[in-house]
């Protein structure tokens, strides 16, 4: 069985079916890109997998390393190794980023029956990973995402991913709102986290992100289902032809 195995997944929000029988297998070490026109259900897929309230799964299965994700609460899914880099990271005023990172990491370690990290160990690890992403100590002291620029927010997402070391990471439109320099930093961060034990699902509307994070496979999503799969050249083809074939113009 693949590391992330999704089978015939149906999901609705407020009785409107968005995912209509989606299947996808992602093996450890692979990076899959999911592309598709607006409204095809890409973000919904990321929310359904990570357990956002209000989404109801009506049929199908999703497992991570053999664990039934759909049976777990959102926090337990995170502890099981699922990470979602948000398209719009949320602000948590008054909570220092450093405190947030530490609470999250220790919560996951506790859930997995591991010891909490000591303060010096934690600080050392964060410092090292933050430096790698060009995140300053000042940013770590500020409230989570409060007053962060678009690029800072996305870098903060990648820092969390680096720290939490998930088995499966879903990146939802990580390129949105980034200028080319920020895109490079974020992509380098993501690439450095590629490993033979980890799988990534990169959701994007545009091909430009895939110049930097080169996928092993590309899938086209349309009307809640994967309608076409191929290698990285599929992204280039879509870039040229747009999503017109799927009933929508390339934006």
């Amino acid at each position: 069985m693949a590391l992330l195995e999704i089978n015939n997944l149906h999901a609705s929000i407020e009785d409107k079916e968005i995912l209509k029988g989606l299947s996808l297998s992602v093996n450890a070490g692979e990076v899959h890109a999911i592309m598709g026109p607006n409204g095809s259900g890409k973000s919904t897929l990321s929310y359904v997998l990570s357990g956002k309230p209000d989404y109801e799964v009506t049929e199908g299965t999703a497992t991570l390393d053999g664990v039934d994700l759909l049976e777990l609460e959102a926090d337990a899914r995170a502890a099981a190794g699922l990470f979602l880099a948000f398209q719009y990271p949320v602000e948590v005023p008054g909570v220092a980023t450093m405190t947030f990172l530490r609470t999250a990491l220790n919560a996951q370690r506790r859930a997995r029956g591991e010891d909490e990290l000591s303060t010096p160990d934690f600080l050392r690890i964060v410092k090292e990973k933050a430096a790698h992403l060009g995140i300053s100590q000042d940013m770590l002291r500020r409230g989570v995402n409060v007053g962060f620029s678009g690029g800072e927010k996305k870098r903060n997402e990648i820092l969390q991913m680096a720290l939490l070391e998930p088995k499966v990471a879903i990146l939802d439109e990580t390129d949105s709102g980034l200028d080319i320099d920020a895109l490079k930093i974020v992509s380098e961060g993501v690439n450095s986290l590629r490993s033979k034990d980890r799988a990534m699902v990169v959701i994007t509307h545009y091909q430009r992100l895939l110049d930097h994070i080169v996928p092993d496979f590309v899938h086209v999503m349309h009307k809640g289902r994967i309608v076409r799969s191929g290698g990285k050249e599929l992204a280039l083809e879509l870039e040229a032809s747009g999503y017109a074939a799927y009933g929508q113009d390339a934006a």
């Binding site: 309230p53 609460e73 979602l84 948590v92 008054g94 609470t103 919560a107």
Partner: protein, 489 residues
């Protein structure tokens, strides 16, 4: 179930039902006859062996009280209180002569509450023994023990029950009692003046920096008993004191009445820091029972360059009616009010402050954080005024409200009045909700719903928590988490 809904449900079931201080101590007590009359007032005064002038003061208050009306302007509603249905005085039967003679049941109660009365235990129980805390413990109507008295006396600091002060230091009491909150100040303060039973008295002499934190712990135990404590703190010229107050009560079906008066006097160059953690029983999940908390707290910055700072963490009581205030009389005097008010279940909070600028170059600062959950109502009510001669007075007010769930309410009622054109008053207010998105973001990072709410709320109240003395800040943070978290085990 959506995370927010679930959290709200957990909050609802937990805080109100699992009040951990809700036990009753079984001790014999001696009570005044039920109800309120001149005889009750005489009974209390006689019990305390008070001098004639004190009795006259009380009777005067009682007569004035009879002519007064219960205030109704606060945003709280409750059935009319039958003041004849309460006991106005209860004391443990065995009166201790020294700490060694205190009823073991009472000692056990305070141990359970985490208040070590015996000095040895106090020393052992405190992380940093070089800064011990002196405690005055008030059980129902009487003060049962004051620790570290001898040590404080060496510095000239007087820390004792108000009853003892009336007997031992009448000149100080006569000079200051009622000088900040006058006899007929308001309905509840006047009632308190007539029937107050005990409370703490503190006098810090000129130029003395009180060597330890002073603390009073209030506990209402008896059924149908009102607690009317009176606290008077005087910081003489150049003195400094930090004072902490904590309160709990057993879980009772009836509403218990609490109407305290606290008066602070800061003379020239003096500073008083007064912190409260109020955790009276809030009532059960259906809104039954709980403490009615009608409190008058006021500080008078009487001398130039004096400073009074109020910090409160309010998590308990069915009804809270409380406005710790500062009269900024001395030139260059400063007043501060830092507040965290959490309401849950069916609690109703109407709390805030008054900053009365009378002197020149006076400044005040108000930081208020209200958190409403369950079906509670949480109101900030604040008044800032500058009088004609208060040139260059300054105020900064920031009140933020946080809503958890959709059945609670948060309200902000500021009154701002400047009669001097040089006054600069700033007012900021926000109301926000813990959003589904915030919770989901935290959950996706592995935090449990309870951890997520606690983290968000702690972030929200951070500015105020920082104002509390270290020992209390930790306790307050725990209390906030317990008040709003789901599972604690």
């Amino acid at each position: 179930m959506p995370a927010v809904q679930e959290t709200v449900d957990q909050v609802r079931s937990l805080d109100v039902d699992q009040y951990k201080y809700g036990f009753v101590t079984d001790i014999e007590s001696e009570k005044a006859p039920k109800g309120l009359s001149e005889d009750t007032v005489r009974y209390i005064s006689a019990k305390k062996n008070e001098p004639e002038w004190m009795l006259e003061w009380r009777l005067d208050a009682y007569r004035r009280w009879l002519t007064m009306e219960e205030p109704t302007w606060a945003r709280v509603s409750y059935p009319k209180i039958d003041f004849q249905d309460y006991y106005y005085y209860a004391q443990p039967k065995k009166r201790p002569q020294s700490l060694d003679e205190i009823d073991p049941e009472i000692l056990a109660t305070y141990d359970k509450l985490g208040i070590p009365l015996r000095e040895r235990e106090a020393l052992l129980g405190i992380e940093n023994p070089s800064r011990p805390i002196a405690v005055d413990a008030v059980f129902d109507s009487v003060s049962v023990a004051t620790t570290f008295k001898a040590e404080l006396a060496k510095q000239g600091v007087i820390f004792c029950s108000i009853s003892e002060a009336i007997r031992e230091h009448p000149e100080l009491v006569k000079q200051y009692l009622g000088s900040v909150v006058p006899v007929s100040d308001n309905f509840y303060a006047t009632l308190n003046t007539a029937v107050f039973s005990d409370g703490s008295f503190v006098y810090i002499p000129k130029g003395v920096r009180c060597p330890m934190e002073l603390s009073t712990y209030f506990r209402i135990n008896e059924r149908n008993t009102g607690q009317f404590e009176r606290t008077l703190i005087i910081a003489d010229e150049g003195a400094y004191v930090s004072y902490l107050e904590g309160c709990t009560a057993p879980q009772r079906d009836e509403n218990q009445l609490h109407a305290a008066v606290v008066e602070l006097v800061a003379l020239k160059d003096a500073e008083i820091k007064y912190s409260t953690v109020q955790n009276w029983y809030p009532g059960d999940k259906d809104g039954k029972g709980g403490i009615y908390n009608f409190v008058t707290k006021r500080g008078d910055c009487r001398g130039d360059n004096s400073k009074i700072s109020w910090t409160q963490v309010e998590t308990g009581s069915a009804i809270t009616w409380k406005y710790p205030s500062c009269i900024l009389r001395g030139d260059n005097s400063q007043g501060e009010f830092y507040s965290i008010a959490i309401s849950n279940g069916f609690q109703q909070v109407d709390s805030g402050t008054k900053m009365i600028h009378l002197g020149k170059n006076t400044s005040s600062r108000i930081i208020s954080k209200g958190i409403a959950a369950g079906r509670s109502e949480n109101t900030y009510r604040g008044q800032v005024t500058a009088h004609r001669r208060a040139t260059n007075s300054r105020n900064f007010t920031n009140c933020d409200s946080l809503l958890i769930g959709d059945k609670c309410g948060a309200h902000t009622v500021p009154y701002i009045e400047a009669k001097n054109s040089s006054a600069v008053f700033e007012h900021e207010a926000t109301t926000s909700k813990i959003s589904e998105d915030q919770l989901f973001y935290c959950l996706q990072r592995g935090l449990s719903p309870e951890e997520a709410v606690a983290l968000i709320v702690n972030g929200f109240v951070k500015d105020v928590l920082q104002q509390l003395p270290m020992e209390f800040a930790v306790e307050a943070q725990k209390l906030i988490s317990v008040s709003l978290e789901g599972s604690v085990g």
